[in-house]
Subunit: 122 residues, 2 copies
């Protein structure tokens, strides 16, 4: 059987329910369009990255791609998340690939321009 | 003379030079397209919001629109930035309008889907 890959959109997490709802809306078009994708959180929200890896592994996924819903790489993405991933790979015997944060892709700058234009026209 | 409006793209700020470069790239399409726009920072980078308001006021701007380059509103946007803005309005005698964070506009979710599709095709 071919190994199955799951895509995890990784948000920071917050105790603020509105914050979480914004991220769920941000993820919605991707989750509706990309098979085997879900949203997960670094801290303060569930499912945590560990819960998502545990659940995915139990369902037969052996590879995970983690796409950070962060505009840029700060300490979390440079240090904390890679450490978490290394530990989870060992614990669950899976391969987890961390991609650059979404803000490093030119699509985001183009979208920001559209948002600002919307805002100024409103 | 009609009052002049300046658009400030407000990023969080970081001591990490790569982080700052990512935000400069994110802002570039907007700055190239929207007249009287610039990037400014809440902390750790310059120009600070205060510097940008001071400079804009000196150049004759009396209205500012602050568009947060944040995916969602956490404590900074709910509490800290409104406080800074209120204080700057009083100090400089200008009007400063804070818009929702970019992540609350549907363009962002669509862009994230495009980024994830790029990532999975790569």
């Amino acid at each position: 059987m071919a190994s199955r890959t799951k895509t995890l959109l990784l948000a920071h997490g917050s105790s603020d329910e509105n914050w979480r709802r914004t991220f769920e809306s941000l993820a919605a078009p991707t989750l509706a369009s990309v098979p085997d994708s879900t949203i997960t959180y670094m801290e303060l929200c569930q499912p945590s990255l560990q819960q998502s890896i545990a659940e995915g592994t139990a369902k037969g996924y052996s590879q995970f791609i983690v796409v950070p819903l962060f505009l840029a790489a700060g300490r979390h993405l440079r240090v904390d998340v890679p450490k978490m991933i290394q530990s989870l790979e060992t614990e669950y015997g899976v391969t987890i690939t961390l991609t650059p944060p979404i803000g490093e892709n030119p699509h985001l700058g183009v979208a920001i321009k559209a948002v600002v234009e919307d805002t100024l026209e409103a």
